[in-house]
């Protein structure tokens, strides 16, 4: 394989094909429609299942049924469509069948716009559908990482019988950059021992999210939360940049993390000791790493393309050991490196209070909220 100029949406779709996805169900929505379009010819040409559903509600329930057969299955959508999928995702989580979903996030709430955003962080990372469950969530910051994480998504989903969601903002989906696709994997021929395939020569199987007896539902909930901690032990992923001697640590994921890195490089050239921790797995969240960092550094800056959602998870992790600041561009806006650089310079020359509300201070700096 060699590096090619690839668009993010196409790259994720083809990566899924090469990872052995056996069925794709989806519905058109900008800015992820290229995934659906690519699958519409690629899957049939390989003799695999493709269906454009009547809605995201139907698409996710088709995924649910297909996942019950033990096959590798997926869907993709963007924010408003993912909201419609929340019912099905909750059922899939409750039934403990694996599937992969790509959310190419756009500006919201409501119809919002079709520009890149990270406004779905809370909805995706902290559940979204009803009941107690946690999907595995991975956030790519480049087309190459989107490819690699798509492949990983299927392996993780199957390993933990969980939902894996690729949280890619619109710019990851739409931009083109050089990247390398993986080799085509052969399709899995075996089926797991829980799969519903017809009770030929064996006892019937039943897959459901129904536990009418509260004691049994409690046991199922406890099984899910236990698995969540097992996933946290094994699957935390992040990237560190210039952290060895960093006095200021930026925390940002996806495109916000990538733009922050540009700002960090410029600030380093100015002699400011600043580094970046870019979470790749948003669930499990790299909390232990952030806790450790908070004992070594002097302040932290959370950068997001929303009004401060991951911010809360960072604050929980640092346990008020260092001051935390926030900078965000919501609504489909992508920050320029200079905007983040200005924050870094300010933090390098100003003492930041411990505690308080970083989001409020951010709004006060913008003169949106009076003191």
């Amino acid at each position: 394989m060699s590096r090619e100029l690839l668009e993010g949406n196409f790259a994720m779709a083809e990566a899924a094909v090469r990872a052995g996805v056996e069925a794709y169900f989806g519905y058109p929505i900008t800015p992820q429609t290229e995934v659906l379009e690519w699958m519409s010819h690629r899957m049939p040409e390989l003799g695999r299942a493709f269906l454009q559903a009547e809605s995201e509600v139907a698409a996710v329930n088709m995924v649910y049924g297909a996942a019950c057969t033990g096959a590798r299955v997926m869907s993709s959508s963007s924010s408003p469509g993912v909201s419609l999928m929340m019912e099905g995702l909750s059922y899939i989580a409750g039934t403990e069948v694996p599937c992969v979903l790509i959310d190419v996030v756009r500006g919201g709430p409501g119809l919002g716009n079709i520009a890149p955003s990270q406004g779905d962080y809370n909805q995706i990372v902290h559940g979204g559908g009803h009941g107690d469950y946690h999907p595995i969530v991975l956030a790519p910051a480049s087309v190459q990482e989107a490819i690699d994480l798509t492949v990983l998504s299927f392996d993780l989903a199957e390993k933990y019988r969980a939902i894996t969601i690729l949280l890619a903002d619109g710019s990851i989906g739409q931009m083109m950059e050089p990247a390398e696709l993986p080799e085509m994997r052969p399709l899995r021929t075996s089926r797991p021992d829980w799969a519903v395939t017809g009770a030929e020569g064996r006892d019937p199987r039943f897959l459901s999210s129904i536990y009418l007896i509260p004691e049994q539902e409690e046991a199922a909930n406890m099984r899910l939360v236990e698995r969540q901690y097992q996933i946290a032990r094994n699957e935390i992923r992040f990237k560190e940049y210039f952290l060895e001697d960093a006095e200021i640590v930026i925390v940002g994921f996806g495109t916000a993390g990538r733009v922050s890195l540009s700002a960090v490089r410029t600030a380093r050239a100015e002699g400011i000791r600043v580094g970046l921790l870019r979470p790749i797995s948003l669930n499990p969240f790299p909390s232990p790493q952030l806790t450790e960092l908070s004992r070594q550094t002097q302040s932290m800056l959370v950068v997001e393309m929303n009004t401060g959602q991951m911010l809360d998870d960072v604050r929980l992790a640092v346990e008020n050991h260092v001051p935390v600041e926030f900078y965000g561009r919501p609504g489909g806006m992508v920050p320029y490196p200079d905007e983040i650089l200005n924050e870094i310079r300010r933090m390098a020359h100003q003492s930041i209070p411990l505690g308080g509300d970083p989001r409020l201070r951010w709004l006060q700096r913008l003169n949106l909220v009076k003191n």
Binding site: E54, A58, N61, M62, Y64, G65, A66, G88, V196, S208
Partner: protein, 258 residues
Amino acid sequence: MDTTVQTQTVYIRPSSLNDTPTHYCPGCTHGIAHRLVAEVLDEMGIREQTIGVAPVGCAVFAYNYFNFDFVEAAHGRAPAMATGIKRLLPNRFVFTYQGDGDLASIGMAEIMHAAGRGENISVVFLNNAIYGMTGGQMAPTSLPGQKTTSSPNGRDVEQHGFPLHMSEVLAKMEGSSYIVRRSLHDPKNIRQAKKAIRTAFEAQVRGLGFSMVELLSTCPTNWGVTPVEALHWLEEHMIPVYPLEDFKVSPELAGLKF
């Protein structure tokens, strides 16, 4: 004189049915419908190839009664879930079992599009003109004037519109192969219902596309009548609104004899 007694089995539990005490109310016709489905699957010899999709509603526990693979769908989504299964396992027999709230209200989009696609699945649709599981609220199939817990003065068509005739609507879809309505109120109609279920299932085995049997059913508990009165009420009030007809029969099925 030869005194040997010849014995012949005339009635036995179908192997597609489990030995499970019923949770359905006295006089409810779900049990009859379950048995008919099981008998047909036995007769076709496809129990081990079958995957059932249960709905939300009184038949949410359908999987307890059937002795083959089953999944449990979200409310109204059974046709979408069945689609996902069938697309992955095209050689398996896949059917949904749905009530009128599930199929004709919250699941309207899923059933319409499954039929429109000619999805090669079968649907057993129980229409008892009321929401049973939640305690007798108005359904999209409730009759004009029918009293329910959410239409205490009777269904007012000015307020709540008219009953939905799902078989008539789905028969218009090019993708449907077999759409009929039958009733479970007496032995003659039950025998005809079984024949219709067999034909619908044969449509799928033959790859003819979407098939559905609507079965008029009773809900004595929520109708507030005795089981016997319920059978009469169905015959007198439901059949005039929901005629027992063949709305669509694919020519390939017309000559089948069982």
